[in-house]
């Protein structure tokens, strides 16, 4: 949004300056044929400032994360934050200032080794301290897959509750960012959704992120918290300075409606909000918009209750279609709400390809694809 606008202005400015430099640059057209930083595919609308949690402050997503971490380090003396590059503030600025404030034994860099980061984090948690592990990009979480799936998720169960790593929270930047390509854009929640014993949470905004992250940290089960990186600077809201909790495993109905249920999480919530507005304006269709928030364990009750009412369901996520989390939702809803369905459940997702670079505008499940799918459902 604002960030994309700045990027375009920056490109123009450099073009003008370049022409005046002459030489090689003057032979090039003033702008490339296609902008290398496309405008964002959604419009972030901030939620109103809550009044229940005291004084608020304007924060973007990464600042709301810092705030949650600051609150945690302040009230929990055992809490430690670690990962690659967190000491200087992190590649996305989520840990800025924390090392100076709380000390180098509490906010520290680890060697470049995701399996080590998560394994180490499990051990910290097993020893009774609060462990907040950062994986630099969700795309790099896979070396830690064994530690997450075979160890963290199973620690309590396999020990008969003698041991657990409930004090572990893993954070990772997640989702498309406009230019991230294969390895800086992934949404891997579906891999982990298949793993009993962990929780997976994805916020849509700064206000949601702080409350959900604090809940993950305090939750007595290992949690993975995916942070939509495209929102780090682009999403700005009034966020309470003091700690507050948003419950896990509770979806939020952002807008009630009667004709179609739209479900998404993270960045995609903002896409479907726009789709709901388009549907109302162009088709007179009333949409119920749901932010799932927690992927595992997910709030089947809220989604099913909505579909019983509307009879139509559209689920959308950036992650590829096959085996994506929409398939789990779709399967459960058709089991629970079969006779209420007026149309097949629609999934609008990324294609079954790796996440491409230059083709990102075509790859993502944008509002036009969602709108088109919705239209087909209405006309079914």
């Amino acid at each position: 949004m604002a960030a994309a606008g700045l990027a375009l202005r920056g490109a123009l400015a450099s073009g003008a300056a370049a022409r005046s430099r002459g030489g090689l640059w003057s032979r090039l057209p003033s702008l490339p044929a296609a902008p290398c930083r496309p405008a964002a595919h959604f419009a972030f609308q901030p939620d109103p400032a809550p009044s229940a949690y005291g004084q608020t402050q304007k924060m973007n997503l990464f600042q709301s994360i810092t705030s949650a971490l600051d609150n945690t380090l302040a009230k929990d003396p055992t809490a430690v934050i670690f990962g690659e590059d967190v000491a200087f503030g992190g590649v996305f600025r989520c840990t800025v200032g924390l090392r100076d404030k709380y000390g180098k034994d509490r906010v520290f860099n680890t060697p470049l080794c995701e399996q080590g980061i998560v394994g180490f984090g499990i051990g910290v948690a097993v020893a009774g301290a609060t462990a907040i592990a950062e994986i630099q990009f969700a795309d790099y979480i896979f070396p830690a897959f064994d530690q997450i799936v075979n160890e963290a998720a199973k620690y309590r169960y396999r020990s008969g509750d003698l041991f657990n790593c409930g004090n572990l929270t893993i954070r990772a930047p997640w989702g498309c960012v406009g230019h991230g390509a294969l390895y800086h854009s992934q949404s891997p929640e579906a891999f982990f959704a298949h793993c009993p014993g962990i929780k997976i949470v994805i916020p849509r905004s700064p206000l949601q992120a702080k409350g959900l992250l604090l809940s993950c940290i305090e939750d007595k089960n290992p949690c993975i918290f995916f942070e939509p990186k495209i929102l780090y600077r682009a999403a700005v809201e009034q966020v309470p300075v003091e700690p507050y909790n948003i419950p896990l495993s509770q979806a939020e109905v952002l807008q009630t409606g009667s004709d179609v249920t739209l479900v998404a999480w993270g960045t995609q919530v903002h896409v479907i909000k726009e789709v709901a507005a388009m549907a109302q304006e162009k088709l007179g269709v009333s949409c119920e918009v749901i932010d799932l928030r927690t992927i595992l364990p997910w709030d089947t009750e809220t989604v099913c209750k909505s579909v019983v009412k509307t009879g139509r369901l559209l689920i959308s996520h950036e992650a590829p279609l096959t085996g994506g989390f929409a398939s789990e939702i779709s399967s459960t809803v058709q089991e629970e709400c079969f006779l209420n369905l007026e149309a097949p459940i629609s999934r609008v997702c990324g294609y079954d390809t790796p996440f491409p670079h230059i083709f990102e505008p075509f790859y993502i499940p944008d509002k036009w694809k969602c709108y088109d799918a919705l239209r087909k459902m209405i006309n079914y």
Partner: protein
């Protein structure tokens, strides 16, 4: 006082021979179909007891799967070893895992898991937290020379050194990872030689010399806590038994090789001879102990056999700390299923 001069050496024969006796009986019980699986500790008893004796009671232990002697040294009762192997109602692990996957919170022995080397970076994290808690405790992490090839081992060593953790890494180099001899596991100079590459203080010891193991572990532990300096101990020993009840090692090694270690370089024999020579032990005591240890093991064994298995409802708990709605529904679904089809399930062996 070095253990060589002590009239009651901390690593006395009782634990090692009790372990040996329990191993024989439980291995046999698997062969008879009474338990599903077992792993013996033959030949490595010295590494367990020598190191365990050098630790404080509250030092946290992360193991791989062949360290039952450490738990036994700390006083874990026979009936609980058996309960886990049988998966009966007395198993603190609630019947969730295969035999020999012991764990004990009160004795600071973290529950074993099957994936190899995963415990290594975890042990480092625990040591870091313990360091911050200023607890004057150390962590010891056991693993075999095969597991040391895993990426998690590399991760653990590097993190321990860079983050200055009070941890003793204890590698049981027993010559084989199932059928893979060390010549196919590594080409360098074993595991100890890797330590300096990470900045770890490292030492190689004769794993079948209980006192050497004790002395090395004692000093490593002392310095780990005093200086936040991690240590790597590589204990050279030999896996006299098969890898597990699913293995027949005659397929890949000679009986002569095994006999050499069993007869010429066995930790229990070596300690026994040492103590006999000093008059701290005699043949009478040896005979008496063998008899009473066998009796104790058999009693615990018979008791474990008779007990029921836990209620099948325990299949569903502890996935999370609280039981989420979908698991409550699935548990109820199994209950309904058993009401109609219960005759096809071994319900008579399970607690109601």
């Amino acid at each position: 006082m070095p253990p060589g001069e002590h009239p009651n050496p901390p690593c006395s024969p009782p634990t090692m021979t009790l372990l040996n006796t329990m191993d024989r009986i439980l291995y046999e019980s698997q062969r008879q179909g009474r338990i599903s699986f077992y792993m013996t500790n033959y030949g490595e008893e010295g590494t367990h007891v020598g190191s365990a004796a050098a630790l404080d009671d509250t030092d946290l232990v992360f193991g791989q799967y062949r360290e039952a002697g450490v738990l036994m040294y700390r006083g874990y009762p026979l009936d609980l070893f058996m309960a886990q192997c049988y998966g009966n109602v007395s198993d603190p692990g609630k019947g969730r895992q295969m035999p020999v996957h012991y764990g004990c919170r009160d004795r600071h022995f973290v529950t074993i898991s099957s994936p190899l080397a995963t415990q290594i970076p975890q042990a480092v994290g625990a040591a870091y937290a313990i360091k911050r808690a200023d607890a004057n405790r150390a962590v010891i992490c056991y693993f075999g020379e095969g597991a040391a090839s895993e990426g998690d081992a590399h991760a653990g060593f590097n993190f321990a050194a860079t983050l200055e953790c009070p941890i003793v890494f204890f590698c049981r180099n027993n010559g084989y990872a199932i059928s893979t001899p060390t010549s196919e596991q590594y080409r360098g100079d074993g595991i100890a030689a890797r330590g300096p590459g990470y900045g770890l203080m490292s030492i190689r010891v004769d794993g079948n010399d209980v006192f050497a193991v004790y002395n090395a572990t004692k000093e490593a532990r002392r310095r780990a806590v005093a200086e936040n300096q991690p240590f790597l101990i590589e204990a050279m020993t030999y896996r006299i038994g098969h890898h597990s009840t699913s293995d027949d090692s005659s397929a890949y090694r000679s009986v002569d090789e095994v006999n050499y270690w069993d007869k010429q370089d066995h930790p229990i024999s070596r300690l026994r001879h040492y103590m006999l020579n000093r008059g701290w032990w005699d043949e009478e005591e040896e005979k008496g102990w063998r008899k009473s240890s066998r009796k104790m093991v058999m009693e615990a064994f018979e008791q474990a056999e008779r007990k029921l298995k836990p209620n099948p409802q325990l299949l569903f708990s502890d996935v999370y700390r609280e039981m989420p709605p979908h698991l409550r529904r699935q548990r109820a679904a199994l209950e309904r299923h058993l009401q109609h089809y219960g005759e096809h399930y071994p319900l008579e062996h399970f607690e109601k």
